[in-house]
């Protein structure tokens, strides 16, 4: 009786039948509370709430959870018993058999569920089953249509040359801040040239600009620069930051470059140089394979945007951040915490990418591709045949050697005891000297991890008689032969179990068949004697005293003779012929294509791929559709997605891109979070200007070059960096653009390329395969090999972004590491020497002339008298000081900054 009052479940089950309320309270509710409530109350994962009988019967996306009286037909029971083919609950691990049995009994007894306060678990706002976007959310600034505001009226009409200026000036006038005058012509051309092509202007270009007095002079400079092939190299690289471009794979032991990755990089550069309209630029990168000809062939390489990142798990994240400024990746495990993006949206987009696959598009005629594949197959086939032959011969050799185990041991003993030299001992016993060497290392130096040699060592240690020692060796030999026989038998069993040769060859069958194994200790014995020796770093010797085979240094050749050796040699000669005949692999494009059967994904509840909820039809984002998103119907839906992204009704795409270009010119964005236009992103500092530019961008036919021009011809862009106390007092951070921003340090590529340019060592060739960084790379940095695993250390030091994640902004750190780079780096020293030599040749009229030339080359200005004097004094002290002087000029903050 005392027990009956106890609350221990084992007793309660006797006290209450499954149809009693007490049974529910003691045996059912606690199980639900511990295992189900976390997701099936307020969170209502899969639409299911287990808070009352009524709700449980109503169920969720997969139907009713319980059918009172029918445990077999109850989804809840199937799911917890894990007999359901798709749903298995709870995610933390299967319930105990007792708990499952209780649940079953409870359902069969009618699922008694007393009315209780479980409803209190539900927050009032989650009762609706559809994800609802509130009017406030819809009203958020970035989702509003781009209106095309007219530039406002301003007082200082002389300063405001362009629409951009009127938006900027209106705000300045409102704040009572006077904008700066135009920068000097030398500063302007240096600023424009570094901005657009990432190189300083040549002295000739500066002189031409100074000599051009027409009002169109600067526009002509801008047009010339936009027409330069170097424009695409500079601005294409920024795009590659967003596209997390690299030339190789991630997660490999050594860098494993893709020989053809550069085709995407070159496509980006070319697209920018051709001023490919941005809508087409977007469409190509997401769906070039689905475009009609001739665009399809022309833009196929653009698919590198999706294809080059290994695994491709981040495609939704990168695509939405890059094109839309939305962080849809945050909605993978739960509805977006801040923005109106349900988890379903994530899987709608993910379904598009999972219905697509990486595909190599050959850039050679089909016959050439086939010829290469055939030739490659022939090489592989021949290699396999050789390996098979070697393995067969090695196996029969091993069987022979096993029977000589005792002889080898005795010979080894005499060597270890110093009674005989290895050569002598081998010869005396008719053994192989090299194998004997392995035995010596094995018995003398190796820590032996099986017990079968214990007797042998014991006999030796106690100085046993020759006969006793021999007996121990022979006993060991018998063990070896027995273990080898046992292993053969096990392999026979496994062979049958795997279903013969076919199963053995199949990785998956091998992994999922339960196989027999040798006992561990016996395995170590066999491994020591015959296994392929593997030597993890730092180990001298690891098994395989009798091993011969395909491993380098363990060739079976010297044991072969007569027809065997002749056969092997003939096969090798044939292989060599085949290899010589194998042409280099045909070039191809890393692209994408649709899978044969595109498929919608189910929402992975809390990101768990084992726990799937409702189907998420492939479609665009809810927030960017007026009503329910229309499911995509063509193949994977990639082209439809691209069209949705560049649709005139989508306000984000143009806003995001004009801001990226603005940020490239001013160092700050109109939106300071260029890849996040959501609730947690920054609001635009000049919303009307942003929309004005977005409208102009679309109206110009999405021309990026027109946008650069529009921005650069403004007074806003052309102002000086001059400090002004009065303006700074009102707007110290220059949020209103009363002056230009000083660029304190060029980014990695511009800095490196500028050094080459002024030293006269730049190779201006455009496009082509990647080359390793290092002193030898004299091409522009955009052509350097970008490794996901082994980044170039100098480029990393200069804040080249990590290519494993999309990157929206460059860091520009200064600091002593940068100083050390300029002080000591070989590349810098070499460019300084080249610069000194260049100046010597180009300015033959003495030191002053040379100093002037260097200043024109590096800083686009003549030196002051004081600077000339400083240089002359430095150079006078030492004949060979020019390279060191040139290095100081390169290391100066003026060279790496832009005003």
């Amino acid at each position: 009786m005392i027990c009956a009052l106890s609350l221990t479940p084992s007793v309660a089950v006797r006290a209450a039948g499954p149809g009693d309320a007490e049974f529910f309270e003691t045996r059912i509710r606690p199980v639900l509370a511990d295992n189900c409530y976390a997701c099936h109350t307020t969170s209502k994962m899969g639409g299911l709430q287990l808070t009352s009988k009524e709700r449980a019967v109503r169920g969720g996306a997969s139907g009713p959870a319980i059918r009172p009286g029918n445990s077999k037909g109850s989804l809840l029971i199937q799911v917890v018993a894990q007999t359901h083919d798709r749903l298995k609950m709870p995610p933390s691990g299967k319930l105990s058999d007792q708990q499952i049995q209780d649940l079953r009994a409870w359902v069969d007894a009618g699922a008694v569920w007393p009315e209780t306060d479980d409803e209190a678990l539900l927050a009032p706002d989650v009762k609706a089953t559809e994800y609802v976007i509130s009017p406030q959310q819809r009203g958020f600034w970035s989702y509003q249509p781009v209106d095309r505001p007219a530039p406002p009226a301003v007082r200082n009409a002389a300063w405001a040359r362009t629409g951009v200026d009127r938006f900027v000036l209106a705000r300045l006038e409102e704040a009572g801040v006077e904008p700066n005058e135009r920068a000097g012509k030398r500063e302007l051309i240096r600023r424009a040239t570094l901005d657009l092509v990432g190189l300083p202007p040549t002295p000739q270009e500066v002189a031409d600009f100074l000599a051009d007095d027409s009002p169109e002079a600067f526009a002509r400079v801008v047009d010339r620069l936009l027409a330069s092939p170097h424009y695409g190299e500079r601005w294409g690289r920024y795009w590659l930051d967003l596209a997390r471009y690299a030339d190789g794979k991630l997660g490999t032991a050594v860098d494993d470059p893709y020989a053809n990755a550069f085709r995407y990089r070159d496509w980006v550069i070319e697209a920018l140089n051709d001023d490919l309209p941005y809508d087409q630029f977007v469409r190509a990168q997401l769906a070039a394979d689905l475009l009609p000809e001739p665009d399809r062939s022309k833009h196929l390489a653009a698919l590198g945007f999706l294809a080059l990142y290994p695994g491709g798990d981040d495609r939704v994240d990168v695509t939405t951040k890059t094109f839309l400024g939305l962080t849809v990746g945050c909605a993978q495990c739960h509805n977006h915490k801040y923005d109106p993006i349900p988890t379903k949206d994530f899987y709608s987009l993910q379904g598009i990418f999972s219905s697509s696959e990486v595909h190599e598009y050959p850039l050679a005629p089909e016959e050439e591709v086939q010829a290469w594949k055939d030739a490659k197959a022939a090489v592989d086939h021949q290699k396999a045949a050789i390996n098979k032959f070697i393995e067969d011969q090695s196996a029969s050799l091993r069987k022979i050697l096993f029977t000589q185990t005792a002889e080898y041991m005795m010979a080894t003993r005499s060597v270890i005891q110093g009674k005989a030299e290895p050569a002598q001992a081998a010869q005396a016993a008719g053994l192989d000297e090299e194998i004997l060497g392995r035995w010596v290392r094995y018995l003398r130096d190796t820590q032996i991890e099986h017990p079968f040699l214990a007797d042998w060592f014991a006999v030796n240690e106690r100085g046993g008689s020759e006969e006793a020692v021999l007996a121990a060796a022979e006993a060991f030999e018998r063990t070896v032969l027995a273990v080898d026989k046992e292993k053969e038998e096990i392999e026979d069993i496994n062979y049958v179990r795997l279903g013969g040769a076919k199963g053995v060859a199949d990785e998956k069958t091998r992994q999922y068949t339960n196989l027999e194994f040798l006992d561990l200790k016996k395995w170590y014995l066999w491994r020591d004697l015959a296994f392929n020796p593997y030597s993890p770093e730092g180990f001298k010797f690891d098994g395989g005293v009798f091993y011969f085979g395909t491993k380098k240094g363990f060739e079976v050749d010297r044991f072969l003779s007569g027809p065997w050796m002749a056969h092997l040699e003939r096969m090798r000669a044939e292989l060599k012929d085949l290899e010589d005949a194998l042409p280099p692999q045909y070039p191809f494009i890393h692209g994408m294509r649709d899978k044969d059967k595109p498929e919608d994904l189910r929402v992975a509840i809390r990101g768990d791929k084992e726990n799937l909820g409702e189907v998420a039809p492939r479609a665009f984002l809810h927030i960017l559709c007026d009503s329910q998103p229309e499911p995509y119907k063509q193949g994977s839906g990639r082209l439809e997605l691209a069209n949705s992204i560049v649709s005139p009704s989508n306000p984000l795409t143009a806003r995001v891109m004009v801001n990226r270009l603005w940020m490239g010119h001013f160092g700050v964005g109109l939106v300071e979070t260029p890849s996040n236009y959501g609730q947690m992103g920054e609001r635009p500092t000049h919303p009307a200007l942003l929309d004005y530019l977005a409208g102009r961008f679309v109206d110009s036919g999405w021309s990026m070059k027109a946008l650069h021009r529009e921005i650069m011809l403004s007074s806003t862009y052309q102002s000086s960096i001059e400090h002004n106390e009065k303006s700074a007092a009102v707007d110290p951070e220059n949020k209103l653009y009363w002056r230009a921003n000083l660029v304190e340090r060029l980014d990695a590529e511009a800095l490196r390329d500028s050094m080459l340019a002024v030293a006269g060592t730049l190779d201006p060739a455009v496009g082509g395969p990647a080359q390793d960084f290092g002193e030898e790379l004299h091409r522009r940095a955009v052509y350097g090999n970008v490794s996901r695993t082994q980044p170039d250390r100098s480029m990393a030091l200069l804040d080249f972004p990590d290519p494993n994640a999309t990157s929206e902004k460059r860091a520009r750190t200064q600091g002593p590491m940068l100083r050390l780079f300029f002080m000591n780096n070989e590349f810098v020293i070499e460019q300084a020497q080249a610069l000194a030599e260049r100046v010597r040749q180009e300015a033959p009229d003495g030191e002053t002339d040379r100093i002037r030339r260097a200043y024109e080359l590096l800083y686009a200005r003549p030196p002051s008298e004081a600077e000339i004097k400083l240089g002359l004094e430095y150079l006078a002290a030492d004949e060979s000081a020019w390279p060191r002087y040139a290095q100081a000029l390169l290391a100066s903050s003026e060279f790496r900054s832009v005003r």
Binding site: L250, G251, A253, D314, T327, Q447, E449, I490, E491, Y495, L498, R510, Q511, Y512, L515, F517, L520, Y524, P536, E537, G538, T673, M680, G681, I721, H723, L742, E744, Q790, P791, A796, L797, D802, N804, A805, E808, A811, T813, Q814, G815, P816, M817, R819, L820, F821, M823, N824, E826, I829, A866, L870, D878, R884, Y885, Q887, A888, L889, S892, S893, E894
Partner: protein
């Protein structure tokens, strides 16, 4: 060379501008959120996956049921798992605490009273890459700052002439530099990667020595450079930001002499070097000692390139690996103590996940005796500043498969490490792309039970 000497060497030309600017090579020391228990971190990473059941988590039941299938419902592992396989290594109670340690960690066993053995670690992903990312950056995909970056961001560094966060590996572990990336934190918090396959410090350190000129010539050149910059600043007029960001040449100049000395293990006695052994890992441990001694905030030593502890084919390889790290780890503990650093240094030894108690089913052709990746349960060791030594924390099930008592996620590990350094993991945030980011995302609990 003291700082005053350096100033003298650099001469007056430097003083005029140089002194006016900030001297910081690295962000200066910053105040922690509360009183720290440790100042520095040494993280020894046994990359590839340290088997818990063969090292620090003995399982008698596993020994008993060798060769039997794992009881219970079918469990999820990366590949099909075979039967249970007992450990080939013997365990023995060690130290005052009597914590059982496998024979292959004999010397570490002697020092076990200094360690807290966390036996209930678990992770989220069975592949090396994502789990390495989680353990190092708190997130499975690239794009988040590493632990070391957060630590130096939070605390700055003690020695302005050395990087605050140093990573040692002869080549690269799987994933490579994303494991010590500063991601969106400023680049100065990125781990300074030093390929310690070299022992010549001039080859270890980037741009540390000039081979094109003498020291006198360089000194003159730097004086010239300082004047060039002065002229430029005059020309620009008022540009306080640039002025502040043009860092002093003095620091860089001194780094050239100081940094190579600190990295030079030849400065240690032959006897000391012998105790660490002439392996990459041994040299790495000794270097980490010297680095924290000289005020480096965090040092991470990867055992080796790629993933040497990934014993799929043969768990006996663990024996060889362990015997190679055992001595250096014990030597490091002893030397940290002798040099008075043990109480202010947090020592962590671990890997991205553990290994299955079951044999890995590797097939007919290659009958091996290895173990697969084990994510639900593995072991990490902690010692030093603020850690309760000589205890175990948490437990796995009878077979060492799954953490069943006090499970510890990498987020919890990170929260605890930051806590010991005086940082509240919920307050150590950085605003990027419109959001406050944390190392521990929205999770992580400090494990108070292991704190001294």
């Amino acid at each position: 060379m003291t700082r005053r000497d350096a100033l003298k060497v650099m001469g007056a030309g430097f003083g005029s501008v140089g002194l006016a600017r900030t001297l910081a090579a690295n962000p200066m020391t910053q105040a922690p959120h509360f009183a720290p228990r440790a100042k520095n971190v040494i993280f020894l990473f046994l990359n590839g996956g340290l088997s818990q059941v063969d090292t620090f988590d003995p399982k008698p039941e596993l020994q008993k049921r060798d060769g039997e299938p794992m009881p219970g419902p079918k469990i999820k592992t990366d590949r099909a798992a075979g039967s249970l396989m007992k450990s080939p290594f013997a365990f023995r109670k060690r130290g005052q605490s009597g914590i059982e340690v496998a024979e292959i960690f004999d010397k570490l066993g002697d020092a076990i009273d200094d360690f807290c053995v966390i036996r209930s670690c678990y992770s989220d992903n069975g592949n090396h890459g994502p789990s390495l990312m989680l353990m190092n950056c708190g997130h499975q995909l690239p794009g988040r700052p590493s632990l070391g970056s957060w630590v130096t961001y939070g605390l700055g560094t003690e020695n302005q002439n050395l990087p605050g966060f140093v990573v040692l590996c002869p080549g690269y572990p799987v994933m490579g530099p994303v494991l010590w990336s500063s991601a969106f934190l400023p680049n100065s918090y990125q781990g300074a990667y030093i390929p310690n396959g070299e022992s010549d410090p001039e080859k270890l350190l980037q741009n540390i020595r000039n081979h094109a000129m003498t020291a006198d010539q360089q000194q003159r050149q730097l004086e010239l450079l300082d004047k060039l910059d002065s002229h430029y600043l005059d020309r620009l007029g008022y540009q306080p930001q640039l002025e502040a960001s043009i860092q002093s040449m003095e620091v860089a100049y001194r780094m050239q002499t100081e940094a190579p000395e600190v990295f030079d293990i030849a400065k240690e006695s032959a006897a000391t070097r012998e105790r660490y052994g002439d392996t990459d890992f041994g040299r790495g441990c000794l270097m980490s000692l010297r680095l924290v001694e000289h005020g480096v905030r965090m040092v991470q030593v990867y055992y080796g390139n790629f993933q040497p502890w990934d014993s799929h084919d043969d768990i006996l390889v663990h024996g060889k690996l362990a015997r190679q790290v055992d001595g250096p780890i014990a030597a490091l503990v002893a030397d940290l103590k002798e040099r008075g650093l043990f109480d202010e240094t947090l020592l962590v030894i671990g890997s991205e996940f553990g290994r299955t108690p079951m044999i890995q089913n590797s097939g007919l052709e290659k009958i091996g005796k290895g173990r697969d990746h084990n994510v639900p349960g593995y072991t990490t060791l902690m010692a030093g500043g603020g850690i309760k030594g000589g205890i175990t924390y948490g437990a796995t099930d009878d077979f060492g498969f799954k953490a069943v008592e006090n499970p510890v996620h990498p987020h919890d590990m990170h929260a605890t490490m930051l806590h010991l350094l005086g940082l509240d993991h919920t307050k150590l945030t950085y605003r990027y792309s419109g959001r406050d980011f944390r190392l521990t995302d929205v999770a992580g609990n400090v494990i108070h039970d292991i704190l001294a």
